[in-house]
Symmetry: C4
Subunit: 340 residues, 4 copies
C-alpha cells in the first residue's frame, strides 16, 4: 500500500495529502476537493464516532479460519464491503488520472477483490458516462448511483443506467441541498416519499433492487422501508453537504434498532480498515461502503491499487474475526463491542 499511497500523493497534490490517518483535518473545508464542508465537523464525526467503539477480544474458542463471505442485495461478496459512489476526478482529486481510468479501476478492482463497486453521478455528464461504461465492461457488475434530480433528468438517468445491465440502482438523496446545482439550472432536491415509491416501483418492475443512500434518522429509515427500498445507506455524504451532522457510527445503532431485518442496512463514513468494518457490523450494519481510501487507491494504483486495498482490509477483517471469535459475519453482534 505504501507505494500506492506515494503515487497517489503525487497525483493528488493540492487535492489530498494522503495522510497517515485520513480523518479530515488536513483538508478542512475543501469542497470541491476531498475534504469535509466548512469546518469538516461531519467528516471528523465519522472518524470520532468509530474511534469511541472498542472491542471485546476473545481467544477461548474454535474460530481459526473465519469466513467473511456474505450475500447483500443478492450479490455474493467475499466480505461485506462495497466501494462508495464517488466521481469527479478532475475537480475533486486533481485530475492525475482520467475519469474513465479512475472509475474503471474502482469497478474492476472491486470485482477482482470479490466485492462490488458503485459509481457516482454529477455535472459534467462524463462522470456518469464513465461510470456506466465501467459497469457495462464488467457485465453489469457494479451499482450506478443517481443524484436526486428534479423532473426529466432523473428518468433519463435511470434509463441510461438500466442499459449497463446492472441489477441494483442507487440514489444518494444526501446530495440534495446543493444550491449551486440548482443555480446552474440542474436542481437536485430531497425526495418526498410518494415520488420515491414510484421510482422504486419502476426499478422493481425491471427486476432490479434499489438502495437509498443518506438516511441518518430512525424515522427516515422507517420511511425507506415503507416506500419499498431494498437497502439504505447510513451516510452523511462524507461530511460534504451539511456541517455538524453526527458520524454514521453514532446514528447506526438507533436506526438498526427500528429497521433491522426489514431492510438491508449499509453504513458509510470513516471506515479505514478491517477493524472498522467489523465495528460497523457489530453496530448493526449488514455491509459497509468505503469512500476516500478506495479513491486514493484507485488514483495511486488503478485496478491493482483498489484490489490491493481491499485485500488489506480483508486480512485485517479476518484477523479481527479470529480475535473476537466470529466465525461468520452473523456472529459479529453487539456482544462484540465492549460496553463500559
Amino acid at each position: 500500500m505504501k507505494e500506492i499511497h506515494d503515487r497517489a500523493r503525487k497525483l493528488m497534490k493540492d487535492f489530498c495529502k494522503v495522510c497517515k490517518i485520513c480523518d479530515g483535518r488536513a483538508c478542512v473545508g475543501e469542497v470541491p476537493g476531498m475534504g469535509g464542508l466548512n469546518t469538516a465537523a461531519s467528516f471528523k464525526n465519522n472518524l470520532a464516532a468509530l474511534a469511541t467503539v472498542t472491542l471485546n477480544m476473545r481467544l477461548l474458542h474454535e474460530v481459526v479460519e473465519p469466513s467473511p463471505h456474505c450475500t447483500v442485495l443478492g450479490y455474493d461478496l467475499d466480505m461485506p464491503v462495497m466501494a462508495a459512489p464517488i466521481g469527479g476526478v478532475s475537480f475533486n482529486m486533481g485530475g492525475g488520472v482520467s475519469e474513465e481510468a479512475y472509475i474503471d479501476a474502482v469497478v474492476s478492482g472491486s470485482r477482482e477483490a470479490g466485492v462490488i463497486g458503485c459509481v457516482g453521478d454529477g455535472v459534467p455528464p462524463f462522470i456518469h458516462e464513465a461510470g456506466y461504461a465501467a459497469i457495462r465492461k464488467n457485465d453489469g457488475y457494479g451499482i450506478p448511483f443517481i443524484k436526486p434530480w428534479e423532473g426529466d433528468e432523473l428518468d433519463e438517468k435511470l434509463e441510461k443506467a438500466r442499459e449497463t445491465g446492472c441489477t441494483t440502482f442507487g440514489m444518494d438523496v444526501d446530495a440534495a441541498g446543493l444550491i449551486t446545482l440548482r443555480q446552474m439550472g440542474r436542481p437536485v432536491s430531497p425526495k418526498p416519499p410518494a415520488e420515491l415509491k414510484e421510482i422504486i416501483a419502476r426499478v422493481h418492475d425491471w427486476g432490479a433492487k434499489f438502495i437509498l443512500k443518506g438516511v441518518m434518522t430512525p424515522d427516515e429509515a422507517e420511511l425507506a422501508v415503507k416506500v419499498g427500498a431494498d437497502a439504505i445507506v447510513v451516510s452523511n455524504h462524507g461530511g460534504r453537504v451539511l456541517d455538524h451532522v453526527p458520524g454514521a457510527a453514532e446514528v447506526l445503532p438507533g436506526i438498526a434498532r427500528v429497521v433491522s431485518g426489514q431492510i438491508e442496512i449499509l453504513a458509510d463514513g470513516g471506515i479505514r480498515d478491517g477493524v472498522d468494518v467489523l465495528k460497523m457490523l457489530a453496530l448493526g450494519a449488514d455491509a459497509v461502503m468505503i469512500g476516500r481510501p478506495v479513491s486514493i487507491a484507485a488514483v495511486g494504483g488503478l485496478q491493482e491499487g483498489v484490489a490491493t486495498y481491499f485485500s488489506t482490509i480483508k486480512g485485517q477483517l479476518l484477523q479481527a474475526m479470529v480475535l473476537t471469535g466470529s466465525q461468520t459475519v452473523k456472529d459479529i453482534t453487539s456482544r462484540t463491542i465492549f460496553n463500559g
Copy 2:
C-alpha cells in the same frame, strides 16, 4: 468573503488575526481588543457549546425552497439574525476605519441584507453618537443599546436614542461590573427589577419595545418577563466581562423551557455560520445576534462586507433548512437535533 477577511486582517493588525475559525484562542485575554477576558473560557465556551450540538439530517420530504423569513420584535426579517451591538473601533479593532464608517456599515449593511443592526454604547461619547447617526440615516431602522449606567446618564441616553426614530431599545446589563468605568466616575451596574420595570414602562409609553441583553439563567429570564421586557438576549457578552461562564448554547435550552412563548428569546455567542443559526433556533431561540464576524466584515468591507457576510449566512441557513427538512423557521425544533 476571502477578500473582505484579507483586508480586515491588515486593518485590524495586532487587534484581531481574523482566524479561519474565530474561537477565542488567538486573542486570549485581549480586552480591550477582540478577545475574551482573562483565560477566555467564556468566549471559548460559546464555541464549544455549539460544537457539541449535532443535527438530524433528513432528505425524505418536500422541502426544496424553504423560507427563513420571520417577524421578531415587530421587524420583518429575511432571516432570524441581527448584528450584535459592538462599538469602540479605536481601542477594540485597531482604528483602521472610523467609528462612523464602521457603525454605518453595520446598520446599513444589515438593512441591505434584510436583517437589522444594533449599535453599542460606551466611553468616549462618539461611540453612541456614531451609532445613533447611523440609525437616523436609516430612518430609525436599527436598535440602540444603552449600557446600564447609574442615575442621569441612563435617562439622557434613552432620550437621545429616542431621537433616532428607532422602535426598539436595548440594554446590555451584561456590561455591568466593569469596575474601571466605576473608577472613571461613569458607573455601570446590575439593575434591580424595580428600576428595570420603570425604564421599560417608559419605553412602552413611547410605543417602543425593549430588549434585555445578558440573561444567562432561567430565574432571571422569568424576572425579565415579570418586568415587562419584550425580548431577552441570552449572552455572556462575548466572554468579555466574567471568565468561566457557560456558552450561550449551553444555558439556552433551560431558559427556553421556562419562558418560551412569553417573551422573545434571542441568543448571542459563538455563531459563525448558517448552521450555527439553525442550531440556536433548534435549541429554543427565536432569533440570534452575531457579533465578531459582523465587526470583521464591517472593517474589511464596510456596508458591502456586512451585506456579503449575511448573504453567506443566509445561503448556509437555507441549505441547512433543506437538509433538515425545515420549511420555515418554526419547523426548526428540538427534533432537528440529534440526541445521542
Copy 3:
C-alpha cells in the same frame, strides 16, 4: 503584575517558567522545583477540576458594591484568602532571593493586603526559622505549619512556633510519605487520630486554633471533626506527594456535604484568580489558600509583589461577586454554579 512576573521569570530561571497559565505542564515532575510529582497528574487535576466549573451570571439585582469580608479561624480578613505554606526558596525557586526575604514578603504582603500568610517547615532548619521570624515581626499575624514529624521533633517545633505569638497552628499531614526524609533520619508520617487529638488538645490549651491540611476524603474530614481540629485544608499538596490524586475542587463538594458547619473548610489547589476563589466558595469552602502564584509574586516583587497579587485577586473577586449577584461571601453557594 507583568513587571513582577518578568522579574520572577529571571530569578526563578530553570525552576519556574512563570507561564501565562500556571497549570503544571511546563514543570512536569520537577520536585524539588515548582512542579508536580512524576507525571504531574495531581497538579494538573487541580486546574482541570476548577476548569469544569462554570458560573451562573446574574445581572438583575441590587449588588453593586459587594463585600468579600469574612471571619476565618477568628481572623478578620478582607477576603477569604490565605497564602499557602511554601518554603525552600533555595531548592524549589532557584534561590534568587533569600528564604528570609521571601517568607517575610509572603507574611507581610498578605497582612498588607488584608489577608493572612502561612509559613512552611522542612529541612534545613532555616526554612521554619525564617518563617517564624516573619511571624514574630508581624506581631504573631501569620500561621506556622509544622510537618508531621515523628517523636520529639514535632513537640519542639510546636514550642518554637508558639513563641512567634501566633494564634493558630497548622499541620500539613499531606507531607507524609516523603521516604527521603525518613532515610535522612528525619521521618514524617501519617498521624493516627489519637495522636492528633492530643496535639490539638495541647494547642487548644494554649488558647490557639488548629488547622489540619491534607484532607481529601469525606471519611477523613469526619475524623478531623472528631479529633477537634478547627479547620481542614482540602489539598493534594500541590500534586507534589502522590501522583494521580483528584483535584481539590473535585473532592471538595463531597467533603462539604458531610462536615460543612462543623469545621471550617479551606481549599487549596489550582486557584489562580478571583473567579477561582469564588468557585471554591461555591463548591463549599469557607476560604482558600493560594500557593504557587503567591510564591512567584514574592520572588518577583517581595512584599509589594504579594500585596499587588492579592489586590488583583480581590478586584477579580469583587467583579465576579457583582456579576453573580453575591453581596457577601455567604451568598456564594451551589446556586452560583451552572448545573448542566
Copy 4:
C-alpha cells in the same frame, strides 16, 4: 534510571525513542518494533484507562511502614509485580544487545529485585531457547510463556519448558490471529476450552501451575476458571494484535467482579510506575505484569537496569501505600479509588 534510559535510547535507535512517558504515540503502528498495531489505539487505551483512575489520599492512620509483600502462584514476592514475557530483541528492540543477554537480564534482574520474570516465545527458535536458558540459570525461577501453537509444536515446547525446572507455565493466547505465522506454516490460534483443559491437566500432573494470558472479557474469565487455570492475565497484548481493544484497566473491574477469589488475576498494560501498580490492585488485580519499561531497562542496563527499575517501582508503591493508608496489598481495594 536516567543513565539507563539514555543508554537504551542509543541502543534502541529507530525502534524505541524511550519517551518520557511511554504511551504509544511516538511508535504508532511499529509492529515489529515496540509500538501498537495500526493506529495503536489499544496501546494508548491501556494508558488512557489507567489515567482516568484517581486515588483517595488518606493521612489520618497508622500506616508508616507498609509491606507490599505477597504470594502469587506460590511465589513469595517482595511486591505483586512480574516482568511480562517479551522477546525478539533483534526485530523489536534494534538488536543492541543479544537475546541471551537481554532475557537473562530480565529473569536475573527480576529475581534480584524480589519479583519474578517471564520469558517469551516466537520465531526464530533462539527466542525461547534464550529464555529457557535464563530460567535454568536461575534454578527454575522464571515463568516460560508458550504461544498457542497448533499441533505438535505446542507439546514439544511444553516439554522443553519443563526442563527449565520452572513451577509455572504460561500461554499467551492473545498472540493468536497472527496470520503471518500461519502463512509461514507455524500457525498459532485461539484455543478451544476443551484443548486448554487437557493442556492444563497435564501441567497440573507435573505439579506445576498454569497462567492464561489474554483474557479481556468476564465470560472468558469464567471459562478460564472452568478449564482449571490457576491465573489469568488481563491483557490486550500491549496493543499489538488487535486495534481498538479497551485498556486492561477498563475491563479489569468487570472481570474481577465475576472471578475474584476463584482464580488469581494478573493485569498487564500501561503500567509505568508504582502508583499504576496500586491502581491495578485497587481495580481488582492480585498482581501485575510490566512489559515495555522492563525491556527498556534490560536493554539500557541489563540485570542491574532491571533491578533498578523494579526498585524505583517499589519505592513509589511504598509511598503510595503510605499515602492511601494501605498496610498490606490486601488493603488496596475499591475504597482506594476516588469515585466522582
